[in-house]
Symmetry: C2
Subunit: 353 residues, 2 copies
């Protein structure tokens, strides 16, 4: 439980809230701990943000044995800082660890260390509505060894990055491209784990989509290329005949924390939610019949991303005239109000630091 | 084409040939070059082997955008050193690069740099029969950025590791475990690329196989879980009714250089080779009828690995009484004789440095 602390001697200039972007600026400190077989996880420490010194033979650079998480802390109107569903993120982190043969961490202990770290860099948590402190915990395999096996040593780290408002000028619907050619994950694979290789595997199709003017890729199932899975870094929802429909967790989709947040919030607001297998043909059909009133993605970065256009093979579906719909807007407002501590949190999602 | 050279000031003690293992010891120098959008690949240099200094936000640590190769140099009886099919490895490297949105390299230039590097550390190339110099080229994504996109900067590196004889006491057949539950790759995925995440994705099933006393996993296709793909780090061959049968390259199997070497050598020796889709049921059937006389893997590390036992669901197939068969032995002898410069190389596979 004890964490050693080394303060930075060269504090950086904190960016203005208006100059924040995503994932480029980091705070003054980071949390580290190491793993070996004799000591388990050990040497917990908060130290100045700085480079790792890694041999070129380090396992993670060759075989990608690595996992990560993404969560946020928010500054409330009363100037307190709160975490949103951090425990759920660390539980998912441990599920990813297991799948990738990485030793699990103690979530209670790590959560305390995370709070210590944020307290240390609390001045870095931005305050404008829409801004937040993005938190990136990760574990990398560190054996200096080229054999293919689970590493015997690991480094766990948490870095913090103040991030700007995702929608400074209001909700901006995205255009998504359904790929029938490329596949991200398949039953029996590692799609459910938040592991490095899944993201590398998504780049080629993403670049193709971007060349065609689309923001992100919508992945279909790896077996039949028919059923909707998820978007690049979001889970996907459709509003069909006033019911919110989203692909059921099937082992190849990431179990998004925001996905669960959306489902709980929608139910609380009296909206029916259906988690099921859903094909692109059903989506096209619902669109044709006028039953598809909204589509949106869910993820930690943007919370809710309205989808204005879906391109699937030779069809282009325009949804809600390409603007944000009432369900997406309501969910965004209600969820962010809890995240920023503006509304009571009946779900116990938030935790003060 | 110009490469700068910085000599080590602290040369390491070279290990005895008898003390070599795989991928744990590295030579005194390494080759590096960097990529950015303005300069392309630049700053080619041979420098003392040493650690990389990487920000915790480095792309490769989070999103696994990385590729690698594995090839070997051999010391010949006349004390010259030769590379085996190096150009084929760098061509495959570029195919992996393309799939993973990594900028390609100029194979001719890099091959020259590799030769320079080996010349620099030529004393490290071991000389006992069976030993060799393992060569590991790799590219890692180096943007200090948490956004999910192809990195704009990269590092290319080559490290060298003297490796011991794979079969110091003669051919040792391996036991392989067919997994019907876990999947390594799928059509539309990145199975064909030599990219980091494919190896991380293989660890869980490998650990399961090892717990059951098996050496490696034999992967089936990701769609139907019926057709044979490849073994952990080897392609797979069966001798059925005097024909060598191996899974056809289908986009999810690595196109092994040794696989191609085996096919060319077998044909030259007058053995029929069939590249086709082959199911585990066909293999079991052939085994039952007494037609399956041998099975073996092919890969740079061991060249040929006879397979003595295959476990598939509730069946255990023992092949060639668990010993190495004549086809595997012949191929091993013929191929290694060329690699070590003991026999003429009519295929132009080898290249002196
Ligand atoms: C592949 C993928 N799907 C979905 C999500 C959304 O998950 P969450 O809501 O937990 O951020 C992410 C998030 O980062 C992701 O990487
Ligand atoms: C997944 C996989 N299959 C097959 C092979 C064999 O390829 P090669 O003969 O080029 O070494 C490797 C080699 O390293 C591999 O990683």
């Amino acid at each position: 439980m004890k964490v050693s602390f080394t303060s930075t001697q060269t504090p950086k200039t904190k960016p203005e809230d208006s100059q924040l972007s995503f994932g480029t600026q980091f705070t003054d400190h980071m949390f580290l701990m190491d793993y070996n077989r004799e000591k388990g996880w050990h040497d917990s420490r908060i130290v100045p943000y700085g480079n790792f010194s890694l041999p070129p033979s380090t396992t993670v650079l060759h075989y990608g044995q690595a996992i990560f998480e993404g969560l946020k802390a928010y500054r409330c109107p009363d100037d307190t800082i709160q975490l949103f569903r951090a425990r759920d993120n660390f539980n998912r982190f441990n599920r990813s660890a297991k799948r990738m043969c990485i030793p699990e961490i103690d979530t209670d202990t790590v959560l305390e260390h995370l709070k210590d770290l944020i307290r240390t860099d609390r001045e870095w948590v931005p305050s404008s509505r829409g801004t937040s402190l993005y938190i990136r915990p990760a574990i990398i395999a560190t054996d200096p060894y080229l054999g293919i096996r689970a590493s015997h040593t690991y480094r766990f780290f948490i870095i913090l990055s103040p991030v700007g408002a995702y929608y400074p000028e209001g909700f901006n619907p995205v255009k998504i491209w359904v790929t029938s050619d490329y596949v991200r994950a398949v039953p029996g694979g590692v799609g459910e784990a938040k592991t490095a290789g899944n993201y590398a595997a998504s780049l080629y199709a993403s670049e193709e989509a971007q060349r065609e003017g689309y923001t992100q890729v919508l992945w279909l199932d790896g077996k039949e290329h028919r059923y909707v899975e998820e978007v690049g870094s979001m889970n996907i929802f459709f509003v069909i005949n006033n019911t919110i429909v989203t692909p059921a967790l099937n082992g190849s989709i990431l179990s998004g924390i925001t996905r669960d947040t959306v489902i709980q919030m929608a139910k609380k607001q009296g909206i029916a939610v259906s988690e099921k297998r859903i094909s692109m043909n059903e989506i096209c059909d619902a669109h044709e019949k006028g039953w598809l009133s909204e589509a949106f993605g869910s993820g930690t970065a943007a919370v809710i991303s309205p989808v204005g256009t879906i391109r699937y093979e030779d069809r282009v579906l325009t949804i809600q005239k390409g603007t944000a719909g009432p369900v997406a807007s309501m969910l965004f407002d209600e969820i962010t109000a809890i995240q920023y501590g503006e509304k009571k949190d009946p779900f116990q999602w938030t935790e003060k630091i």
